[in-house]
Symmetry: C2
Amino acid sequence: MNDQSRTSSRTGGRAARRAARATALPEHLRPVRPGMEGGVLNVLTQAQIERIHQAALTALETIGLADAPQSGIDYLVGAGCILGDDGRIRFPRALVEDTIAKANRSITLHSRDGKTDLELSGTKVHYGTAGAAVSMVDVHGQEYRDSTVQDLHDAARICQQLENIHFVQRPMVCRDIVDNLEMDLNTIYAACSGTFKHIGTSFTEPSHVAPAMEMIYMIAGGEDKYRERPFVSNSNCFVVPPMKFATESCEVMEECIKAGMPVLLLSAGMAGATAPSTIAGAITQATAECLAGLVYVNAVSPGAPAVFGTWPFGLDLRTGAMSIGSGEQALLTAGCAQMHRFYDLPGGAAAGASDSKLPDMQAGWEQMCSNVMAGLSGLNMVYEAAGMHASLLGFCHESLILSDDLIGQAQRCVRGIEVTDETLALDQIAEVCMGGPGHYLGTDATLSRMQADYVYPVFGDRTSPKEWVELGKPGLIEKAIKRKEEILSTPSPARFDPLLDAELRANFKIHLPL
Amino acid sequence: MNDQSRTSSRTGGRAARRAARATALPEHLRPVRPGMEGGVLNVLTQAQIERIHQAALTALETIGLADAPQSGIDYLVGAGCILGDDGRIRFPRALVEDTIAKANRSITLHSRDGKTDLELSGTKVHYGTAGAAVSMVDVHGQEYRDSTVQDLHDAARICQQLENIHFVQRPMVCRDIVDNLEMDLNTIYAACSGTFKHIGTSFTEPSHVAPAMEMIYMIAGGEDKYRERPFVSNSNCFVVPPMKFATESCEVMEECIKAGMPVLLLSAGMAGATAPSTIAGAITQATAECLAGLVYVNAVSPGAPAVFGTWPFGLDLRTGAMSIGSGEQALLTAGCAQMHRFYDLPGGAAAGASDSKLPDMQAGWEQMCSNVMAGLSGLNMVYEAAGMHASLLGFCHESLILSDDLIGQAQRCVRGIEVTDETLALDQIAEVCMGGPGHYLGTDATLSRMQADYVYPVFGDRTSPKEWVELGKPGLIEKAIKRKEEILSTPSPARFDPLLDAELRANFKIHLPL
């Protein structure tokens, strides 16, 4: 955490210190960064984890999963699964245990420019967008309207500028594109031309994978280039909970694995509807389903990169409506993160979304609750961490921008407390108290750590009430709108080279205007 | 968690189930309650805790504290402390260790009516108000104005109605009362006549304790009644960090202990100003100061009830302004909670306050971050948990009301995950998947747990965008304003009996109108 150039301010006086503070910090001195290690929150005890694991194995052995495609049946039976007369595929315990032992436990989700690659292993934490919202939240008019490909592109461009958004899984559906193949292809185009960060996307049908890979290989500069550094991964709802394979999605998954694409094995049961209403039961079922997916992936291609995507969601049981902002949701996600740690597998789950329709106080508390708990639990991939409203139905650009602050603070919590002789500060306490100034303001120890140790909000307000009035009572949303307009008024740094762009437009029907 | 009367709905059909759901749950079935046990979050390792402890002991032994009053010097030297030529009192390690061993580790903070007593021990978590805000936040006009005794009384009345606010330490100063003695007395009157919940208050001068006790004994129905169930405690800033006793406050403390009043030993250093800027250093200093306080209390009266109040606050080091809503603050408080657990002493710290001027998205994320982490860390008393804005300068009734929802969700997280054969739900999964309906909606298992397991927000919105539009896009703040008006338009249930009230008004100058 120390740097000679920073502590040299000892001799430089106040102006030099101010200048040093105003300079952007070198990467290694940033107070928070992608991939910090969590794991200090344990909502489950080791004994509880073992019970969930055993229950999941029993569910796989005795209940199994229905509806695998024929290709999947072949892969799974070939690997040692048993196809029952009832059409369900059951998984012997030993097979599942063996698969866990040999699965890929350290994968890289690449960025297009190599600057923001995500190393998924251990308890390294990353935050990003995800979802399939169908609406955009217009904060001006407090209205919901259909989301478009332009909205998606804009979201990607905004994410490119936000330090604490580490990946861009497609958060919303391009509803202005009627044809599903065109939608899938334009989703990739809109996301990749908006950001260099790692992209996650979905495919409506297995037949869409081939043309999509053609586009992605073109963007990469060739199939070999993509296979070397896959910067797009497949978010794959391979199960229809409870305990049924999603036949077509499994076929998509097989295609993606063959094309060199990492797969997010996404099990999105809803506790009380498509999963048991209890938190333990929902985690058990999601774990069983993702273990089935893991066996499937490794049967197709041993060691293929996969993210263990237990995404159980909460319901409001009074109404049957989805609920994503609850304490129960935060526990579901934190518990899943512990299962990932138990298996030592790259894992992801949903956190940071809100039930509120607008970026208001409710949105703030809901987004922070699950985001900070996910990070403290050491979740590798925190999906839906920013911009998500109305129980996943709406996406909001301004909220996305504000989430950069929110996630920055959550990451500060994940970073935790350093305890060293220097940070314990006994010498400093003695010096200040006995014959010293009686306070720590402006001491070298204070100044030298003020940037590397503290996360300062960009939009969050820390003025006094008096200053706030003098500044005209700046509103949080207004500041976010201004930042959005700034970002979108400059060209996308991730936009394609004109020659590549022309080639893409010649080969595919691109909906975004030139 | 089971109850025969609830599972009897199995035979009663849908109407019976609806009726059962509409009925308020008996206390033991409520999804969250005061005093739930935290402790699953460990931002410090055991080795780090030991280092902080040893550093605190060294600070007490070698640096000690200045500025004790003569009475305090007498008590402390009598107990084994050493008064140095520099006027500082130093604490031998063995004395501190002995004091920790024999201190009162399980105390009750009583309510006036006996219904909401707080048992402080282990990792039992309680949330409440506290502070010394000088302004009220008027959400209508987005203005800050001086706080008054009426505001304090109204805050107490609101707290009385909020299930998740467990105690009412005075959150704001009655700035309309110029005379300090009158202010101290009216603070007690306004709080006690507004709520039965446990009250925390401060005294400006040692001489104010006697008349205040006179008032409190009258409210209690006699000194013996109060001493049996002390429903008012003293929030005492006994130190001026770094490492100096607050001379007059120590005298107040002595008076309070003698009067049978529990004491909150409050050390409120500001990291980077009156405490080291590092989180570990600020925790070390606060721990040392509170250990000094603990020795002091036990020297005055062995086993006297005291709350270990390490309240280090964060600063914005760029500006020197106080910052309370940061990730650093959440870590400061979570780390302190672990020190309390290490000592097995009743402890409290500040969480849940915001730097934002208004109850907006920033307020939501800041309040949740530290509140949920404090609870997960098993902090006995989470002070400043509701209504606090502008880095502790402003209090907001509407925000207080909304915090009841926020804290409810935080408590749900504290409650954690139950893992039993029933909650693992293997039988249920099998039944639903193999020959069953293929979903869990409306199953007995789902319906029987829908109230005892889930916390439903009162103000938080979970409607769909469509329903939300149909309802006229209800705003969070508007709902809180409405609730506030409802509460304040009915008489305070905690108001004094007219005879007692007349007696109090005859003996003291009461500023609140009859």
